[in-house]
Symmetry: C2
Subunit: 176 residues, 2 copies
Amino acid sequence: MREGGYHGFSFREIAADVGIKSASVHHHFPAKEDLASAVVDDYTERLIETLGDPCDPRQATTALLERYVGLFRHALIDDQRMCLCGLLGSETRALPDRVGAGTRNFFRRHIEWLTNVFHADASQTDRAAAEDKAMRFVASLEGALLVAQSLGDTDVFERIVGSTLATLDTDNPQPN
Amino acid sequence: MREGGYHGFSFREIAADVGIKSASVHHHFPAKEDLASAVVDDYTERLIETLGDPCDPRQATTALLERYVGLFRHALIDDQRMCLCGLLGSETRALPDRVGAGTRNFFRRHIEWLTNVFHADASQTDRAAAEDKAMRFVASLEGALLVAQSLGDTDVFERIVGSTLATLDTDNPQPN
DNA sequence: GTCTATAATTTGATAGAC
DNA sequence: GTCTATCAAATTATAGAC
């Protein structure tokens, strides 16, 4: 799903990877929408859990943002794949309802997490402005991943991320 | 292709839209890769042609960038679809060779155009820095499109674009 | 929970008439 | 350039045995 999107994988493919038959996959996920929806929800929960508390006072803003960038860097370098919801998000109009809803939830959660990070920063008291930054940041990272993957050049990702981080103008409080 | 990606459309679907049979489509494009590759190349040429000369001294930097933003706004608002190469770029690893190459060419051309715009701006003499901005800008727009489409909220696109433009710090020379 | 078997449909693609 | 007809393979999905 992270390579070819919703229409780019099949029950037989998954079954072969797991080492069972496609009918057995259908036992766990009756329809394709069920499977994709479960994968998206699991993906979202895993990532949000990895990110941790966005308001942790022991973490500097830059450290939290670096952790966030690390998610995308990992997708590009280690997985050599797109962000699942980045790909599905671009396919929104061709997605079954629950899969589209799961993807929407992914972005809501990420924007919420980033908004909290920016809002907690000493330099940012306006929550709407923090949300603007959050939207811009997640969009930049999804875009950076997409463009770097298309160009087959991980350095493109680093250049975009570096350039973006330089625009954020956050405070850098030392951890306690 | 702009809704479901490379695996999200069929010869029969296209044939029905055009009002002919799928065998007739195969007469023009023997294989699916041929068709998709031709569409991507045509899409790229059209957009670059619409953008015009990035070094036109009669155009202010902000006017050129607004024209560029207009491409993506049109995709989101009027077409209600993703950028073709934004979607395909995220599917890179599942694409036939020539389609992947066409998508790569799309981003090379766009970065080149934007680099020229930023480099021509009075405030920017370093070409590498202009290229950094160019990569960041195209990534932000692809990401903004993707996230706004997924959230089903065009205002998200405008907020991200506004926030991004505010970080570019270009000169605003008056047209002659 | 996994299997075999299979249904019903769709897919990319070709042959050959007009 | 379009058509009918067709192929071989793949697709999602189900029924029922073990």
